[in-house]
């Protein structure tokens, strides 16, 4: 983003007023982060695409009800994405929509390596998710939000509607329970 680009709050305000273009700019800005967040929750790149789309559709529907308290819309979008993934996993609709993608994607020359890498990603992520699935949901989602997607505790607290201390506590509990999987919880420095 250059200094001339409008910040998320300005774009969100325009989107709330009905600007599809402003909403499209928000999508351009945050799609990749939401896409990768959804992947880390599902271990499926295909599902992540669907959840990405569903997340932004849900965000559009809620645009009039939400006022951004922070500079970036990303923490809130990641929270919406988390809910979309959680709800989507209970529905066959999800499975049907996942399978649609096969024929829609245009052929990409020499993409075998990309496919292999993504399949490897999925295998690795599925193994990682097995390690964290025993955590309570709130701890698991706090871990994904603050550690894997690197949202600050303050931003996470704002979008989750809880105190920063509670977010820290959830992440801390998750970390302590995953001591044997230190690579999952290493954050460098707290934000």
């Amino acid at each position: 983003m250059t200094t001339e680009d409008p910040d998320d709050r300005a774009l969100w305000s325009q989107a709330a007023g009905g600007s599809a273009h402003a909403f499209g700019v928000l999508f351009d800005r945050h799609a990749k982060a939401v896409y990768n967040h959804c992947f880390r929750l599902t271990a499926s790149w295909a599902e992540a695409e669907d959840h990405l789309q569903a997340t932004f559709l849900l965000a559009w529907r809620k645009r009039a009800d939400v006022r951004l308290e922070r500079d970036s819309a990303l923490p809130w979008l990641l929270t919406v994405a988390t809910n979309v993934v959680r709800n989507g996993q209970r529905s066959l609709t999800r499975r049907l929509r996942n399978l649609r993608r096969v024929g829609e994607e245009p052929p990409v020359p020499d993409h075998a390596d990309q496919v292999a890498e993504r399949l490897d990603d999925q295998r690795r992520m599925a193994e990682l998710l097995k390690a964290v699935e025993k955590l309570p949901r709130n701890e698991r989602e706090a871990l994904a939000l603050c550690v894997w997607s690197e949202v600050s505790y303050a931003d996470a607290a704002a979008v989750l509607g809880i105190t920063e201390g509670s977010v820290r506590a959830r992440v801390s509990k998750a970390k302590s329970k995953l001591q044997q999987h230190r690579e999952l919880v290493h954050t460098g420095e707290d934000r």
Binding site: Y35, A54, L57, Q89, L92, T93, R100, E104, M125, L128
Partner: protein
């Protein structure tokens, strides 16, 4: 932040633009929708063609007409695909190679464009588009133990392909290509009829060799929206009794009675309520 987490990746080529275009269209579309069936027709002994015209007004959705066509067939199994045996062998070889599978058996062949073959081996289902791609075959595969069914039927694929005149950056040859909704899967021997419900329409699938394929065609300008309700597959016995429906069957889990492994389930763990899977061949 960690060496074990898979790396951050971009969306696949073209998908960012495609999803953004879809979003902008969806958020700009007026939600009112009139659905007016104008034409429905005609059947022969083994073929029924249904054409329906829908009117979908909207300032950003100028597509006025939708044609829906399907070609159901009798429910009996048949080894006659309407092509010479050497063509069947060629398709089986080409699709298996493109799908990275060993030998797979052709179960369904759709000769209407886009040509499509459905093949199975014990451990994989191959959904094969014919006459496309560099090698003439483009294959999507579903891995699993295909000797078992999660109930009376499975849904191997539910796919929406936008029309050739609706994609933001059409490829050469896309112009004029119809949009397509397709659902394929397997059925057990009790299933006599399979229907696909979508866009306020119900069409019959072609049920052959323990498999089914249902298609709905739309004009080349048609795009699908994630706002649309998901299509529903329903299976019936010969007496017309409903055996299962895809919008409710996900609630039930099925286990291979020999190994205890889940059948047709992506994430569920076995529960006390799981039912035995149904043999398929």
């Amino acid at each position: 932040m960690t060496s074990m987490l898979p790396p951050t990746r971009d969306l696949p080529p073209g998908r960012h633009t495609q999803i953004r275009a879809e979003l902008e269209r969806a958020v700009g579309r007026r939600r009112s929708r009139l659905t007016v069936p104008i034409l429905a027709a005609a059947a022969a002994v083994f073929t029924v063609a249904v054409s329906v015209v829908l009117l979908r007004p909207g300032p950003l959705d100028p597509t006025p007409l939708v044609q829906i066509t399907t070609s159901p067939s009798p429910t009996s199994a048949s080894g006659d695909f309407g092509v010479p045996p050497e063509t069947v062998a060629e398709i089986e070889k080409g699709c298996a190679e493109a799908g990275g599978a060993g030998k797979a058996t052709l179960r369904q062949l759709v000769l209407e464009e886009p040509r499509f073959a459905l093949l199975y081996a014990d451990d994989v289902a191959l959904r094969c588009e014919i006459g496309v791609g560099a090698g003439g075959y483009v294959v999507g595969s579903s891995k699993g133990d295909m000797r078992w069914l999660p109930g009376h039927f499975s849904v191997e694929e539910g796919r929406d392909v936008p029309g050739g005149d609706a994609v933001p950056a059409p490829k050469p040859g896309d112009a004029g290509r119809r949009a397509l909704r397709q659902v394929v899967g397997r059925v057990d021997e009790k299933v006599a009829r399979v229907t696909l419900s979508a866009d306020d329409q119900v069409v019959d699938a072609k049920v052959v060799n323990g498999t089914y394929v249902a298609r709905i065609y739309y004009p080349p300008t048609w795009r699908f929206s994630v706002n649309d309700p998901a299509p529903v597959v329903r299976a019936y016995d010969a007496a017309g009794n409903l055996l299962g429906s895809s919008d409710t069957s996900w609630r039930t889990c099925y286990q291979n009675p020999q190994t205890g492994e889940l059948v047709g389930s992506v994430r569920q763990k076995p529960t006390d309520q799981c039912q035995p899977a149904v043999p398929w061949k």
